[in-house]
Symmetry: C2
Subunit: 328 residues, 2 copies
């Protein structure tokens, strides 16, 4: 899907409004746009006042819900919104979906980093590294057997570029993988196969977008069909998982372990039971964020801006109703 | 290299002496030899008394130095010694080297498990998992950037089957690898290239056998040529590394981190400074020991025994002077 929304023939350069993250810094690489745009910065509080005057909105603070709350509805508004994230769930509201404003995302930037992160989690759990580190803290030498990963089975849920990158990386390590998406197609199972595939998986990896169809999909029933030896990994979005059901499944040993990089509430509150759930590894939404990621996100916006400026089709256009960029 | 050392035409089955490990159990799978051998078990204390009457010695307690101390020299002795390990360093003594006794090892059993373990360590360090686990213990959410591993460079020292398996696995993850062995050949650099390759490596992986040529090869000078961002991993044998030089290199930040699975003294004593060296991950000599490893080692001995019994060439014959099974 693509849209032609150029700025040719203008006297005044278009206004790009940047919804800045509180920390640590504004987007890099935008210097490439000097003279071609007027860049204005805002935080969540100022967003509603600035949106009507902006041609383009760059959502740099992609963890913010501010756009959803400040979106002007029928009034003057940006014609293009780009978010520096793969997921658009925090952004979307019915008025934005209904409008003719184009939404693009950071498709591509996070695929390989997240695939490596998933491989790191799979190997760490197979080799029992968390316990090794705990024993080292106690100066205790305790030999254990660990697990081979070659020959095990992974079920990857989410057939976008991140899920597909996870599949490629796990396959390279000798893991047998299946991929589950919203609709069955070559190489991708549909939702009807999910429970059967979960029941056979050693590793269940969630890399799905958060939509009304996927919210809460990993719940008591789904953890119940998994093997007692299975490990569950979520690198998608927190609300894909019913967190209390996961804690219960781990406590009752329905599954052997889990790793969450995303949560219903981020940052995870200090009093969350997830911090100490048995066999659960908690990481602070960092799976895709490798050194240079902010530069890549900035450069990606510059590239998309050049398409928009020239009136060409934009890449990475989100299907606003579905909540992700449709693939093959 | 192979030897013909059969038992054809005997009235009494040959005696296989098993040097048992103190725990947890004698070798599995030897039931396949019932009626074909007389199996006797001993511990280190009884070894010297039993060796003269044994045709074959199975060194199941491969962490023991007992064989070296109990070897009978010129007297009656086993004609074949098999060790359930890849390294033979703990076994060898001048009298055994000089004798016509054949020595075989567990070549092949540990290759893929150790390669997976090295990948686990590389990914854990790149993704900063040890710190993530420590922060989880403090219920602290602290987002950090992590490192891509694709496109980084690894220098693998030791060109036997373990080193080559490590290379294959790291390559599958997109890491550029070089392999260093005792002599240069196609795809393998010789020792003359080592320092130059170490200076360019993000990951230095030691999977070399312990011989008089390799003892202490990772010392102050070699850590000094590595990059400040380099990480060092040892899955070979402890004495390949000068441990106090590694602690100093980590403390002075000559290198960014290290992981040791093998040590000069095993189990690592509780008062060792290695437990708390900055950026050092300590694991209890477990890299190759995946579920089922003892069965594989037992089955491997049964297979070699059938070769020996039939007077065929033995597989996995160690070049006793060099201290490993010569490869291509």
């Amino acid at each position: 899907m693509s849209e032609s929304t150029g700025s040719e023939g203008r006297a005044v350069p278009p206004t790009v409004l940047v919804l800045d993250a509180p920390a640590p810094a504004p987007p890099p690489r935008l210097g490439a746009l000097t003279g071609r745009v007027r860049i204005r910065h805002t935080d969540a509080d100022g967003l509603a006042g600035e949106l009507p005057g902006a041609d383009v909105l760059l959502v740099w603070d992609f963890l913010s819900d501010a756009v959803r709350h400040a979106w002007p509805g029928e009034g003057p508004r940006p014609r293009w919104v780009h978010t520096a994230s793969a997921g658009v769930d925090r952004l979307m509201c019915p008025e934005l979906v209904a409008s003719d404003t184009v939404v693009t995302n950071a498709r591509g930037v996070f695929d390989q980093p997240i695939a490596e992160y998933v491989a790191a989690l799979v190997l760490a759990m197979a080799k029992d590294l968390p316990r090794t580190l705990a024993l080292q803290g106690e100066r205790t030498w305790l030999h254990r057997e660990s697990q081979r990963i070659a020959g095990t089975r992974a079920c990857v849920v989410g057939s976008g570029p991140i899920g597909r990158a996870v599949v490629r990386t796990l396959k390279a390590l000798g893991i047998t993988t299946v991929l589950v998406g919203r609709r069955p197609r070559t190489g991708v199972h549909g939702p009807a196969d999910l429970d059967r595939l979960l029941a056979r998986a050693d590793w269940v990896v969630c890399a799905a977008p958060l939509t009304e169809d996927t919210r809460g999909m990993f719940d008591e029933r789904r953890f119940g069909v998994m093997q007692p030896s299975a490990r569950f990994i979520n690198v998608g979005r927190g609300p894909l998982v019913v967190e209390e059901d996961l804690v219960a499944a781990l406590s009752k040993r329905w599954i052997a372990g889990a790793a969450l990089d995303v949560f219903e509430s981020e940052p995870l509150p200090p009093d969350s039971p997830l911090w100490t759930a048995p066999g659960l590894l908690v990481s602070p939404h960092m799976s895709g964020d490798t050194v240079g990621w902010r530069d890549e996100l900035g450069a990606q916006f510059v590239k998309l801006y050049a398409q928009w400026e020239a009136g060409r089709s934009l890449s990475n256009v989100v299907d606003k109703k579905r909540g992700y960029v449709p693939g093959h």
